[in-house]
Symmetry: D3
Subunit: 146 residues, 6 copies
């Protein structure tokens, strides 16, 4: 049941984002993994959540009318937001702004097929004062079964 070191869903998602790739590696496409990406700049935490949810639904990563998929995605997003904010999950309410790219990957990272599908949500970009340049990088990764 261990993770398959050739298909680490979180690592794949992070590398897709940081290396600005437009598609999944061939071996993962053959496994029917799915992927989408997008961007969001906001002082408002709920805009970050909404941007990722909308992309995932519009690009067919999750089924919009199945709550279990929305629920899996929501918690994965929240975990990613938690990494970006380093625990507080607050952005504008503490006078911070974020400029983020995101990648969502769906696939099974485990050797055992019975583990089914999982989601990885990565957020990466900058967080800082609402003034250009007064910012540093941040990353967050959320992983959930779907």
């Amino acid at each position: 049941m261990p993770l398959d070191r050739n298909q680490l869903i979180g690592k794949e998602a992070i590398l897709l984002l940081l290396q600005d790739k437009d598609q999944l590696p061939e071996r993962l496409r053959q496994l029917n993994w799915k992927f989408c990406k997008g961007k969001v700049g906001a002082m408002d935490g709920k805009k970050v959540v909404a941007a990722v949810e909308t992309a995932a639904k519009n690009q067919g990563i999750v089924k919009p009318d199945l709550y279990r998929e929305t629920h899996a995605l929501y918690h994965a997003i929240l975990e990613a937001v938690s990494g970006v904010t380093r625990g507080s999950n607050q952005i504008g309410t503490l006078l911070r702004t974020v400029g983020l790219q995101f990648v969502i990957v769906r696939g099974n990272p485990y050797q055992d097929k019975a583990e089914g599908e999982w989601l990885a949500v990565v957020l990466y970009g900058t967080i800082g004062a609402p003034v250009k340049g007064l910012e540093h990088e941040a990353i967050g990764l959320g992983i959930n079964h779907i």
Copy 2:
């Protein structure tokens, strides 16, 4: 004063770790950036902190007897732990175990030399039940001025 897109300290640290590189890119070595890496497996949050601190001190990333450097490092580690634990900063107390690699990078990611040195601490690996295979990936990044 913006970040220099060619020397994003967080991104460099993450890629060094995920791509398992043994040294910084040439352009960053020429800028006198420093780097070290290591591993830690633990159920005990303080062992994760200690492993990163010890590596940073032993490998000359921070001066062991200057508290301002230890302080900068400590908060960067804590922010990285917060990403790995998605906010709670708790591991064994909630029956989780982690198997992590870490990378620490020291350098100035900004265009303006006056911004001085910064630290990036990345933790990446798995978190899960204390049973082989019952785990998924996690990442955390902490960035601080030093």
Copy 3:
């Protein structure tokens, strides 16, 4: 000084809410316990707090002009909100909405009369995306001396 198993204030409050009762059991009315209930739907955490506070004051559970009672109530509400949000105390800022019923009970749940009066605040209902049906249940209980 232990809790009296026949007058567990939290359990009574939860059962009143879940069983949709309109009054306290006879044995608790004879002990002069007080009770009120209400509903609130909101994306805004402060509306949840306000709805519970207003009900408690209007229905005579706490004295509106005595801060010690408002203070006891406030912290009980916050603990209940913490259960509903599972720690973050955030609702709309993370793009969630809640549809909650609440019950407030005031009385002494201990065998010893010297323990005086306590408050139990229960919130129960649904939390989820601001879309009908994309939601699951949540509960929170706050208990405080008053």
Copy 4:
């Protein structure tokens, strides 16, 4: 896709626990819902997690060797612990002790069969100083898709 008001998994779990029932209502057994219960007293958060996990595995609520089930359960437990501790997820490290009963229910609370199975974990009991009687009630509910 809304929740079916006759099979609210969280409410059913809470009532099973508070009313000390030994089986699910007939209508839920006919839907093949599963249920187990147990007790745990501890100052150590990981013992609470372990007690619930062990019961769920031993009593056939989750498959022990399928990580996606363990993962669903773990996050449901953590959410329940968060309600009991009102956010901090800490027990003994802050000199508190808990005496808890727990109930785990597995079933589909939605009208739409496509929503599949969900888990509800309820923890209810007392939390307080490690001295008999110096305690009050607490409840926590975690819900997750499985």
Copy 5:
């Protein structure tokens, strides 16, 4: 009902501690305010809680066998710990150690006598690595009705 600016319980407690006074100002003793102080050094959060609780009970600030007083004190201590740890309530689990003095004051800081008695708990000292000198100051104040 406002706070009386001449008897701000938190301010009085902080000044007693920082100015290392051995008794309350005369005007507060005439109002029958109570006060005690102590010290605690620990890596273990529960030792901090225990040291303050023990002092409060031994020195007659709270009645040891009345849970409502212990409860009021406990939450005041926790709020003070939260200030010292800046939110996480964790010390040794994150490889920090504290060296703290504490002061507990009991009295009514409001103009209205009906507000009754309140508690202020102040913790002040240093927090840092478990190495002499690698530390900075921290303060926490918890206030509760009793």
Copy 6:
């Protein structure tokens, strides 16, 4: 490398605020320590952050166009807010309002000159319901290297 007991930056900042002093003690002015103070009343966490940042920049405590100084200040403010809110960093979103005074001090509190400059941010005042008088005191201290 220990803290110099005659120049404890946090203690000095707290006493300046609580004793309503208009300047630093002579011995600290001779060491070129800097200091400013101000007030802010708000239900909005970001207004508290903004008020302290603006004062620090306008009164020359930090250089407005150097991010490392803004970053040091921001984290010190956040730690102080965490003390005032006792962990949640939320104010208006939980229907609370604050009336705060603040003091910022910049200097080296350590015996070793190599420790360089540090910042202390103190927030002290009241927190409570948005109704005059329904409030109690709170304090927060954030300390950071700069």
